[in-house]
Symmetry: D2
Subunit: 182 residues, 4 copies
Amino acid sequence: MSNVIVIYHSGYGHTKKQAEAVAEGAKADLIAIDANGDITEADWLKLEVAKAIIFGSPTYMGSVSWQFKKFADASSKAWFTQKWKNKIFAGFTNSASLNGDKFSTIQYFITLAMQHSGVWVGTGLLPASTKAAKRDDTNSLGGFSGALMATPSDATVEEVNKGDLETAKLLGVRVAEFANKI
Amino acid sequence: MSNVIVIYHSGYGHTKKQAEAVAEGAKADLIAIDANGDITEADWLKLEVAKAIIFGSPTYMGSVSWQFKKFADASSKAWFTQKWKNKIFAGFTNSASLNGDKFSTIQYFITLAMQHSGVWVGTGLLPASTKAAKRDDTNSLGGFSGALMATPSDATVEEVNKGDLETAKLLGVRVAEFANKI
Amino acid sequence: MSNVIVIYHSGYGHTKKQAEAVAEGAKADLIAIDANGDITEADWLKLEVAKAIIFGSPTYMGSVSWQFKKFADASSKAWFTQKWKNKIFAGFTNSASLNGDKFSTIQYFITLAMQHSGVWVGTGLLPASTKAAKRDDTNSLGGFSGALMATPSDATVEEVNKGDLETAKLLGVRVAEFANKI
Amino acid sequence: MSNVIVIYHSGYGHTKKQAEAVAEGAKADLIAIDANGDITEADWLKLEVAKAIIFGSPTYMGSVSWQFKKFADASSKAWFTQKWKNKIFAGFTNSASLNGDKFSTIQYFITLAMQHSGVWVGTGLLPASTKAAKRDDTNSLGGFSGALMATPSDATVEEVNKGDLETAKLLGVRVAEFANKI
């Protein structure tokens, strides 16, 4: 079992692709929050023993999906006894617009991690933002607090952006490094 | 039927008290989001014809309750056709800590309202923050973007703070004024 | 004199272009915050009598420039006596990355406006976020709470994005409509 | 020389008290940003070699003071070459209201730290929020992402809250622990 867990909700499969890229980078185990916002008892135990937890959710109507929020609310049980204290946390999100309100989702992930007395790690990546930059470049959206992905509203799961997937993977690599250090 | 709607979720009844105070100030109709995050078709219609919509939720784990978020996600249907465009929006929240992460909840309400192309109205109140200030004073917490209430974690529904209720009521009064103006 | 004021800081001229587009849409007067973060006494009077105030700043290191913040801090004088109460407020920002932390800047503008007991108006625009969308489309970045512009780090002032300028202009048009209504 | 630096701006001395409490907890060196928003070349070097940097600022008009922001903007030089990469970061703020918009200031600190590819550490403290809680208790305001202090608008520097100072000190202790670990 890995000491890094990627826990995410995906509505249509695009965020799942992003989660898999993060997990590949971190050599992490994946936990999918189901369509009803639930995870299993075994999943809660995995989170409890992990060194790092990476949150993932689409940005729906300006923040995490309700299913992710249901998971977050249920984590109040772990909060009361501070079971996740000092773990490493990070996050990623996907939505249709290039900017949209993705940053709002990342801010929420951080707020949640801080209630759990965690340590927050961002992408550690400079942006690709010159005139020569292409969307397929790493961190072409310019995400620092978390990994960002923009998938056009009519794109299939297979059409998610390669550069955004690479960015997601690099976030995973970075989190794994910190998980092994602390 | 009123042209102002207070739509809220309350887990244990404290936020309901706050919602009632806002509704009293605004002479608004109340819609309670149920424990499963749902409202009725009739409720959606009420929201569609309202001039102003006031959001309310406890702050759970750093943002709105998942039930409120489920409502927000369901409002994407109204978003696609911009049915709530140009309506007045405002918000309120309750949690145990004096500060806590209440501001995060209010920020989310604003982000949601802006996606709906709404107009955001805050409390319009100066804070009571001198040495002589008491918790029962109006806006003793110092909320500007929305109305704040702090209820100790072991307080009953009847023990919610009088000053915070008055603050909530005044937010309602203010929203109603704008609803009649626009 | 117009009843709408666009007050902005621009470090290198790109945000100035955006400010001019907003002002064109709103038929607004422009106030430029200088390199030392100052405006004139006459400027403060213009702000006092305006019906709407539109904030603009580049996003530097994750929020408004220090020059804009110096103006914001100086507005505490207007705050004490709530001279800007009930005015319409809106905002816009420019930075190099597509996403970057522009949303953080817009959030700050809103927070400032709410302390001044203002009313916040966003873009009122749906995003251009399908596969067919181009950067020159209106609101191709997907800004709701405020108007966003992304200018590559090595682009000249003349190379700012046409679609982002149009988005800025439409924000101005929208604010002017509300200024005339309230 | 300590491996932890507390860098802060204080307008009237209250935030300075808080900074000193944090520094005591972390056995940190203090750097005061001056009234013009500047620090010395020697200060920049200290920041460069530190293992942890703790940001402090009053909350003025909804975010950090312009002097702090001027420092933040000047840190873009360190950003370009990612000189602060992987350092530990934390933050604290003081303002008059119990809630006010302190969270906005803390959010900004985090956003800045993430651009610098840092690691964010919060208070790691549960709130004192039962009916029996007193303002002098540790973390009676309920700050998780950073340490909060509320000082009435007419309180002298000597009258800052003892519990808030203790909270500040504990943040310092926590940061020092992480600085020694990484």
